[in-house]
Amino acid sequence: MERTLTRYIRALRSAGAGVSTTEAMDAARTVEVVGWEDRSVLKTALGTVLAKSVEEKAIHEQLFELYFSREAAAAAASEGQPGEGGDPDSGQPGEGEAGEDPQSGDAEGDEGGDPVEALSALARGENPGKLAMALERAGAAAGVDEIRFATQSGYYVRKMMEQMGVEALEARLMEALSRRNAEGEAEAEGLIGTRSALQKQARAFVEARFEIYGKSAQDAFMNEILAERSFGALGRSDTARMRALVERMAKRLAVRHARRRKVRDRGRLDVRRTLRANAGHDGVPFDIIWKIKRKDRPKIVAVCDVSGSVAQYVRFLLLFLHALKEKVTDLETFAFSAHLADVSRPLEVLPFETAMRAIVDEVGSGGTDYGAAFLELDRDFGEVIDRRTTVLILGDGRSNYSNPRLDVFKQIADQAKRLVWLCPEPAANWGSGDSCLLEYRPFCTLLTQCSTVIDLERALDEILMAYD
């Protein structure tokens, strides 16, 4: 039974719940204490030991059912065997021992030495326990637990079939077909039926294993690919996955920057508080109190170009910023193309997609004019930018040859703590055509290309770092 537990822990790990070695040892001790008999007690007990967050508990909840219902079936199969077949070899409670050769081993044992007959008997489903065990063994021999991608299932099904001895069956099938008479055809039909029945079983088996071991690995792989793909190249089908990804990244970022915004400034004594604290000790300074420097809370003013060329990038920036809401409580959002509008309110009260549509409808038309937008920002909303504000601009800097109003931009930059510009275009294109990026560049604390979610995470990390 120990193997059952270690394999379950492996399944948990591949599903993304981090289980350390100590926790695995605790799990073994837990099983010793509560026993295997009562499944619901075992489930809650393992849940307390192995799953250490709400997300992990959900994984455990789901996987436990999936895993132990299968495990129970396998155990029942191996128990039911000796009574019916009477074959000591196949009666071993194998749980899919890899070493045995099912082809020559049990199958021949009690069915009179004909592997094809044995397979047919299995496929007819007369003895479900035996079938389950044959599948279990073939699965272990074929290494089905290694499955990582849904597309591999065909390969593993075939491997399992081979392990069960389907080659002999196919040889018989060819032979029957080559006889070219009614009797041969009837036999061939039966054999084909057997084969497809077995295949169906094997496929179900592989798919169940994929759910346990492979699914999350595939998910992780897809996420990795998506994280490095440019926002511009994302399809509609990627949106849901992307949103989940952004949310997770935001959470990670928030945790990373969750450290106290309080740094002990050792080396500067707080004389007044030290004296007071030690008055009880006759003024002898036992407790030394140091001056504490408090850090600013992050305050971000995001200014986003929502004209057609950049709209897709803005979506994800805003999604990311709003997922960071816990960390960045002070967030003002402005959108512009021809003119500028404060869009913090709709983003807060409306569902995200609806809000985005409303914003694009409101300001997304007309030629982009960066100079005018900065002018409006400074004139109408100048007071939101103070010395603890990071101004975050997202745009390609393509201003349709209008006046970039560098004087206004400089004033904004002076007023803010930092000014970060994220540009979807690669650096080689900056300053080409109507792009004024190179003119704005001297006033930016940071100007960087940002086209994938990884770029976005890095940029926001950098911004939050200034507040740690």
């Binding site: 605790d26 007690v41 945790v255």
Partner: protein, 324 residues
Amino acid sequence: MTDAVTGAAKGLETPAGLASVEAVMSMLAQSGYIATPEIATAVYLAHHLRKPVLIEGPAGVGKTDLARSVALGLDQPLIRMQCYEGLDESKALYEWKYGKQLLYTQILKDKIGHLVEDADSLDEALHKLSGFQDIFFSRDFLEPRPLLKAMEQSTGSVLLIDEIDKSDEEFEALLLEVLSDYQVTVPEIGTIAARVPPLVVLTSNATRELGDALKRRCLHLHIDFPDAELEARIVRTRVPGVSDRLLERLVAFIQAVRGENIRKLPSISETIDWARTLILLHADSLDPVLVRSTLNVILKRQSDIAEVSGKVEALLDGGDKAGR
């Protein structure tokens, strides 16, 4: 099974209340705490695996109360340590009694002259004094704080480390020794190991993510808002005077309010307060006027009250249907 049990027995005979998961449940029920199987299992394992339990969940669902009830049920002292920002070892582990040390120094000042009088050289005087230096850093001058106090209980104890998420990260590191080895190291004295390992309960409201090292050492229990049936049982235990009809309606209403989009959801402690309030007002059923005038008992934010008071009728109706 036997191994782990005897391992635990080395420290202490397993109390009857911790003999099985069911025993834990009935022990807690006797001290007025209605436990789910998850909660009982966690307490049971905490004793048998000798591991601390970390409880997470929203405020007011009975995290702190669990520790209190376990202590009551086991008839062991509850040692409580409230965490806050800036909590350090001198407030959690131990502190030297500076005042007493100072006083003794003053008294000894006169004696020292006598003592070293007949010493010829400085070396000899030092030698004479070195025999006395340890008295200032001995147990007599040690002021035990909650963690050390819990180690020193000879009858066993329940140590409650409340709202660990409010403390600094450095403090978590300080806890590791206490939580995994049940010992405290005082550099001047040595290591003080627990006579009987206490049952440790940590609570967290998840205002920040706790460190992995801490989580790995603990059993993890997540307590969420209870379902209607469990909540009714809890309220009945805590507020015995409540009538069946009122209980059913008020629990249904609270459950419905939790489905609303509000900032601070009412938890069990609010339900209990509300039940007490309604009894004081001699109400035996709910009507919209009464609910509106007592909303401030269950909702703690003005915006939430405004949001819910507009929907009181609908929520009462919905709760009514669910109740039947």
